[in-house]
């Protein structure tokens, strides 16, 4: 295993589900350091459920999830909390704490886990706000921000502790194409500036082609991964017709029509 050090996230024989119902099985994949990796699939195939397992919110039925070589599945509660501090998560709606201002939201992990002074924290908060293009919005309450701004503020909070691994849950959901493209640029620049490993759950094709180095496609019927590779490569050469259709413009139109 010469490249073991380069692997940021590794999923081994993972089976996930609720009670007796299996949602996804036979999951095996890894994400390399500095890679932008997309998890794709149709609605209801279990993309978000898979993400919730990877970030340690749910326990899988079997298999293992290694983050920087440490198993989040077999960790004790205390170890799991330690692992969690090393990655950031941006939730669909931003998941900002409604009782705090945007700046307090971003400051929370810093106050919790660092010995930084009030002034140092304020500087970091302003720096992160600038990074996500929200300079000057620190004193706003989350309810005063638009959906896109909430997501960016959530991203700023996820970046507070400078994690080297970032998870995004449906970053473009509910955003207009221009805002969504802006978020894509932000994701790319994060990787460029900090070499952050980024895992994105999405079904937005435009986004995937713009940012992803590699994608996996999940299928609802077979409950497992049906394709793994670069998006352009899969669109042109995948042996699976459904994958080609999903990734091509025709597939997109047909999908949009179904919704």
């Amino acid at each position: 295993m010469t490249n073991a050090k380069n692997i940021k996230l590794e999923i081994k024989d993972l089976v996930i589900g609720y009670g007796d119902r299996i949602v996804l099985q036979d999951l095996n994949f890894h994400v390399r350091s500095g890679e932008i990796f997309c998890i794709m699939g149709g609605s209801g195939c279990g993309k978000s459920t898979l993400l919730k397992h990877i970030i340690g919110l749910f326990r899988p039925q079997s298999g293992d999830i290694l983050i920087s070589g440490q198993s989040i599945v077999n960790a004790t509660a205390e170890e799991r909390r330690l692992i969690m501090r090393h990655f950031g998560v941006t939730y669909q709606g931003g998941a900002l704490f409604g009782s705090m201002t945007v700046a307090e939201n971003i400051a929370l992990p810093l106050r919790e886990y660092t010995d930084k002074s009030r002034q140092e924290i304020e500087e970091i908060v302003n720096e992160k706000l600038e990074l996500v293009d929200l300079a000057g919005f620190g004193n706003f309450m989350p309810s005063e921000l638009s959906g896109g701004m909430c997501k960016r503020a959530g991203l700023a909070r996820a970046l507070a502790l400078n994690p080297d691994l970032l998870f995004f849950d449906e970053p473009s959901a509910g955003l207009d194409p221009i805002t969504s493209a802006g978020l894509d640029r932000l994701i790319l620049s994060l990787r460029e500036q900090f070499n952050t490993t980024i895992v994105v759950v999405t079904h937005e094709l435009d986004s995937v082609f713009a940012i992803a180095d590699r994608v996996i496609m999940l299928d609802k019927a077979s409950k497992t991964i049906v394709a793994d590779g670069s998006p352009a490569d899969l669109r042109a050469h995948s042996e699976n017709a459904w994958v080609r259709e999903f990734l091509s413009r025709d597939g997109l139109k047909r999908n949009a029509g179904e919704q």
């Binding site: 919730k52 970030i55 330690l82 969690m84 998560v89 669909q92 998941a95 409604g98 919790e112 959530g154």
Partner: protein, 264 residues
């Protein structure tokens, strides 16, 4: 048929098991986080002050009014009976003891189930819908410790204080009725001081510490187990109120029994 019955029985026990296990697990989680209060920044003063205001200061008017009326109603009912045998002065004893031992603490607890338990459940339920609970978890912050302890501490401080207000208002209510029974304020007050002792007052106030704990845990528990949708939050708030009223009344019965062993 037999197999079907067996299935039904086993599913009944499984459901019953979950019903019992869930709250026990929740309480275990909360208790296990107790040491975190003493860690650096484990004690969240700002949040606690917010709940102190919500559950304490903002409840004073309604607690005072309700306990005043309760004392007056008790006084009237007692007077109607006592008058028959010409022992109106015992109205003072009855109002005084009932308010200090039962109605003061109990009314405060009832108002808190409506104000605090439902608010706690709705707040935590909404946080669940917005994925704020997940966000706390993935930040490595334990939601049970982060969300329950500031509320619990605020309730443990505010409920006994509210009970003092409630006790005073209840006796004032009795006094008002007394004056209409030709018991002047001075006589009423003198009798009140003569029959009531410190211990009765303190034991009554001490009850609210138990009520505060039960109401907070019931409210937070119903919030955490609420399903993640708008209806779920509403149902969570409702069941928080129902559960805490039930727990408070049961606890009151048990405590009254225990107090009777030590002669109060």
């Amino acid at each position: 048929m037999a197999a079907e019955n067996n299935n039904r029985i086993s599913s009944f026990f499984r459901t019953a098991g979950v019903q019992i296990a869930e709250p026990v697990v929740f309480i275990g989680k909360v208790v296990s986080q107790f040491p975190s209060l003493f860690r650096k920044r484990g004690f969240r003063r700002k949040e606690m002050l917010y709940y102190l205001d919500l559950c304490g200061a903002k409840s004073i008017p309604v607690v005072t009014l309700i306990c005043f009326l309760m004392g007056a109603v008790l006084g009237i009912q007692a007077a109607l009976q006592m008058r028959k045998v010409g022992t109106e002065i015992f109205v003072v004893d009855l109002v005084g003891f009932s308010v200090l031992k039962e109605f003061g603490p109990l009314m405060v607890a009832m108002i808190s189930t409506g104000r605090a338990a439902s608010a706690f459940a709705a707040e935590i339920g909404t946080m669940k819908v917005n994925e704020e609970i997940s966000a706390l978890e993935t930040m490595g912050i334990d939601p049970a410790a982060y969300l329950v302890y500031p509320k619990l501490l605020a309730m443990l401080i505010s409920l006994p204080l509210l009970a003092v207000f409630g006790d005073a208002a209840g006796i004032a209510g009795g006094m008002l009725v007394g004056s209409s029974l030709n018991i002047p304020f001075q006589a009423y007050w003198a009798r009140t001081i003569a029959v009531l002792d410190q211990m009765t007052f303190l034991l009554g106030v001490a009850k609210t510490l138990v009520f505060a704990t039960l109401i907070t845990l019931a409210g937070c528990y119903c919030g955490f187990r609420a399903s993640s949708d708008a209806q779920g939050v509403g149902r969570g708030a409702t069941s928080a109120v129902v559960l805490s009223i039930f727990l408070v009344v049961v606890a009151d019965a048990v405590i009254t029994l225990l107090y009777s062993f030590i002669g109060y």
